[in-house]
């Protein structure tokens, strides 16, 4: 009940405000409390605060915050996804570089091996040829030596007959008549000894 009378009090100075301000301002301050401490207005303020803040809370909780949260989550997901994608691409690029380098190294090693092999083969062949030639030369040398030896032996054998012939001729010329062949041979043999 006192509430309605309070309004009567409140509205009265409000209506009177138009003309005599200096007059109404002071009494108004006297019978009206300092507005923030005026307990008459508390129920209305509490009720409307509860209603408005309650609605605001529900609206934010149900509509605004899920939306903001999803916007930020979607963005974060997208960023993570993009970063992952970038990391994957970088990994692929790194792998490609590594593979290329490995292939290059392999090719180099291969080339080296082929070169080495060719080198070795050439060396081996040269050695082979040299050995073959040496062996051939050795054989020829042996053969030549053998033929020399046989020729020498033959010559040596012939030297005896020549000496016998010469001796017989000498004897024939000196002595006259034919000398005994066997004797001459013995003599030559003893002389050539």
């Amino acid at each position: 009940m006192f509430v309605t009378s309070a309004y009567a009090q409140e509205t009265a100075p409000a209506a009177a405000e138009g003309d005599t301000h200096a007059g109404t301002a002071v009494p108004a301050a006297e019978h009206e409390a300092f507005p923030p401490f005026d307990a008459k207005t508390f129920p209305s303020q509490i009720l409307w605060l509860v209603i408005t803040f309650g609605l605001f809370y529900l609206f934010l909780k149900r509509v605004v915050m899920p939306r903001l949260g999803s916007i930020i989550d979607v963005r974060n997901d997208r960023i993570t996804q993009d970063l992952d994608h970038a990391a994957r691409l970088k990994g692929e690029a790194d792998a490609a570089v590594a593979a290329y380098e490995q292939e290059l190294a392999e090719a180099k090693a291969n080339a080296n091996k082929i070169g080495q092999q060719a080198n070795d083969a050439a060396k081996a062949q040269a050695e082979d040829t040299r050995k073959k030639l040496e062996a051939e030369l050795e054989k020829k040398l042996g053969e030549a030596e053998a033929s020399i030896a046989s020729i020498k032996a033959k010559a040596m054998k012939e030297v005896g007959t020549i000496a016998e012939d010469t001796t017989s001729a000498i004897v024939e010329a000196l002595v006259g008549g034919k000398a005994d062949k066997a004797e001459i041979a013995a003599a030559v043999k003893s002389a050539s000894r």
Binding site: M1, V3, T4, A6, Y7, E10, T11, A14, E17, G18, H21, A22, A25, A29, E32, F34, P35, P36, F37, D38, K40, T41, F42, P43, S44, Q45, I46, L47, W48, L49, V50, T52, F53, L55, F56, Y57, F59, L60, K61, V63, V64, M65, R67, L68, G69, S70, I71, I72, V74, R75, R78
Partner: protein, 253 residues
């Protein structure tokens, strides 16, 4: 509105009914305060709703503001109360946005400042402390009372410390509400007084008008300060809410 009304710095805090309403003997009229509460939530909701309507991957300016507010409060709560505290995110975010927008709207001339009334800030503070108490007892039972018994205090000091802890806990809703209320009230009174000086001095002719430049400059500087205070008090309110909620989550500190 006449000049004399403007000079009265208290006039701006007066509450008058727009739609008179009485329920159960209580006066619950829809007043100018109620109107600005509605304006506050409609403006804040509309901004948050419309700025995020496109759900752009690359946010525009307005969406950035909404996201910044969201992440600002979210980080504040996570830092103060940990991951568990995130269940109170809607509450803290609503409180922050409500107080911030109410403070900012109050800066417009002829607009009513909802948060310049102690009962409003006190109701919000009671909401916070009520949440802390209800959640604290629901989660920890009587373990919640460990809040008043800090670790590592020698036995003979314990009664004194517990008494101090209880007093500090009880004074929290008071300090929380008075801080916001007093800042808004004092700021608006100061602004009004200096603006009033401009009007009063101008009434004294040319010399007075020249002299009124000083209070005008002061009023401009104060407006900038009040803008800062409007944001800062919303921030402080939200930070303290986070810290009190942390107590509800982890009473043994």
């Amino acid at each position: 509105m006449a000049a004399a009304d403007k000079v009265d710095p208290i006039h701006q805090f007066q509450i008058h009914p727009i739609i008179p309403l009485h329920i159960g003997g209580y006066d619950v009229s829809f007043t100018n305060s109620s109107l600005f509460m509605v304006v506050t939530i409609v403006l804040a909701s509309a901004f948050l709703y419309m700025s995020t309507a496109s759900r752009a991957l690359i946010p525009g300016r307005l969406q950035s503001v909404s996201e910044m507010a969201y992440e600002f409060v979210g980080n504040m709560l996570r830092d103060a109360a940990g991951k568990q505290g995130m269940q109170f995110f809607p509450l803290v975010f609503s409180l922050f946005m409500f107080v911030l927008v109410a403070n900012l709207i109050g800066l417009f001339p002829y607009f009513f400042t909802v948060t310049s009334h102690i009962i409003v800030t006190f109701t919000l503070a009671i909401l916070v402390i009520g949440t802390v108490i209800v959640y604290g007892f629901a989660k920890h039972g009587f373990g919640f009372l460990k809040l008043f018994v800090p670790h590592g205090v020698p036995g003979y000091l314990l009664p004194l410390v517990v008494a101090i802890e209880i007093i500090s806990f009880v004074s929290r809703p008071v300090s929380l509400s008075v801080r916001l209320f007093a800042n808004m009230l004092a700021g608006h009174i100061t602004l009004k007084v200096f603006s009033g000086f401009v009007v009063s001095l101008s009434a004294f002719g040319a010399l007075g008008m020249a002299g009124s430049v000083l209070p005008l400059a002061m009023a401009v500087a104060l407006s900038a300060l009040e803008l800062l205070v409007a944001f800062l008090q919303a921030y402080v309110f939200a930070v303290l809410t986070c810290m009190y909620l942390n107590d509800a989550l982890h009473p043994s500190h």
